[in-house]
Amino acid sequence: MAETLHYRTATELGRDLESGAVSSEEIVRALIERTRAVEDTVGAFLSCDEDDALARARESDERRARGERRGPLDGIPVGIKDILAVEGQPLTCASRMLANFVSPYDATAIRKLKATGAVPWGRLNMDEFAMGSSTENSSVKITANPWNPECIPGGSSGGSAACVAAGEAPLSLGSDTGGSIRQPAALCGVVGMKPTYGLVSRYGLVAFASSLDQIGPFARTVEDAALLLQAVAGHDDRDSTSFKTEIPDYRRELSQRRGPWKLGIPKEYFGEGVDPEVEKAVRAAIEFYRSEGCEIVDVSLPHTEYAIGVYYIIATAEASSNLARYDGVRYTHRSKEAADAIDLYFKSRAEGFGPEVKRRIILGTYVLSSGYYDAYYLKAQKARTLIRKDFLDACRKVDAILTPTTPAPAFRKGEKADDPLRMYLNDIFTSSGNLAGIPGISIPCGFSESGLPIGLQILGRPFEEAELLAIAHRFEQAHDYHTRHPDLT
């Protein structure tokens, strides 16, 4: 079993642990071996505390030997994007600003994850402070797309997507502000879900744009994603924007919600600007649902063309405010060249932040500055109201909306690195979901002729994650894309 252990799903590993076929320690050792074999090519990890993971795995095995089992993830390793606080572990956000930061506490999502017995597994690469769509903005390293190492894995949660695709972890956590879970999931051929804003506590998630950020799961199957979402969802007193809502048993709901569903196709998400291979794969997925008895209807999201502009105003405005805390004084990089206290801010921030973070802070500061606030920020907030209304209106007519996750498969490293606007347009189909606060999932729905994965995005009503997972599960059950793995040998 050892040679294939790294591509077993969390659900399968859970059964293996239950039957005694494998121990948690053996799983972690298999992942250490796998990571050593492929990490030179993939580059998903910023660091990995193997001793901590092995110690937690042994604790899980000891629990199990005593007849205790905390839940389906007990003993299962979960990769963690380096933006979530894990006590005693580095928390760098792939930034020089936090290069030496060690977290003194657990994020709520991590605390809950540990309570289920899951094993935090490594710190995963990302665009610096989650700003980017290719993980090329990491100050540390470039992560490769496991399907073609010449290509980017997407971003900002590129490490979280790549490690799951490469068999370096069965599951991982990421964060999604404008598509940072769904877009890399699509480009790496794995499942990635952004929950409804407020389903998962943001306590201990380093803030990028607080009204848009949300933590969510990566997995190789929908069922595994459901298990990980289950572990982290729920109200938290430490995040007053987290919702008091009943959390269903997502895995059970997968088999209980059988449709047939009424599915909306927004015309604004097809045609010009969409790669023909992506459109073909998504159209084929739509036909699959039709053949399953689902009613397919046209819907309109008329304000789609404004979404990227609105997103980049609101996200950078919030970022310019959130990132003011990195001042060189209390817990960050501090310049050794500063002449006085004020100069300390200027130089520490100049040295600590990379180019994309600086660009976004400048843009965000500009749209909030005196004389421009009404024209940009206030106007964007009003447009956000219209974008949100588009989705809520559409979702009254249908159970979910089907779209491509990205306009094209993964692009080559360096291709858009110097063209921020072109890079920003990668988020064109995902950022609206954050502005509206609704949940979305990306699942593999095909491959391009050159062998790169293509993602289907399913968007739905607020707090209807169970419905989205069930719709996604139906597709997965009838296709084998999730069983294919990149050749990394």
Binding site: N100, F101, V102, P104, Y105, Y197, G198, S211, D237, S240, T241, H303, E305, Y306, I308, G309, S320, A324, G328, V329, R330, T332, R334, A338, D340, A341, I342, L344, Y345, F346, K347, R349, A350, F353, K358, R359, I361, I362, L363, T365, Y366, S369, Y376, K379, A380, Q381, K382, A383, R384, T385, L386, R388, D419, P420, L421, Y424, L435, A436, G437, P462
Partner: protein, 95 residues
């Protein structure tokens, strides 16, 4: 189309970031393109539309006012760049 320009010195000063001349030139050009793209918003009529700051507005979220333990001083100072006598050392701010 006339490219929007950002007064980069003014904004960088507000943001407390020292930029090199090369960065100023590059960012001005790139952000000008982004602003041109954002100009599209001017074609949208938002009169009478209320702004949205949060997707799900919540008001008056209370919890019980019970004291909880916080970090010990040593823990809170662990990541500080310079520490003396349980305090963060900073450059002199008053003459």
């Amino acid at each position: 189309m006339a490219q929007e320009t950002i007064d980069i010195d003014y904004v960088a000063n507000l943001a407390r970031i020292a930029l090199t001349d090369e960065e100023k030139e590059r960012f001005s050009g790139q952000l000008g393109q982004v602003l041109d793209y954002i100009e599209k918003l001017n074609t949208l009529d938002v009169s009478g539309v209320e702004p949205t700051a949060h997707a799900f507005p919540l008001e008056n979220v209370w919890r019980a006012d019970e004291p909880e333990p916080g970090f010990p001083v040593e823990t809170a100072l662990k990541n500080a760049p310079a520490v003396r006598d349980n305090m963060v050392v900073v450059p002199k701010v008053v003459e």
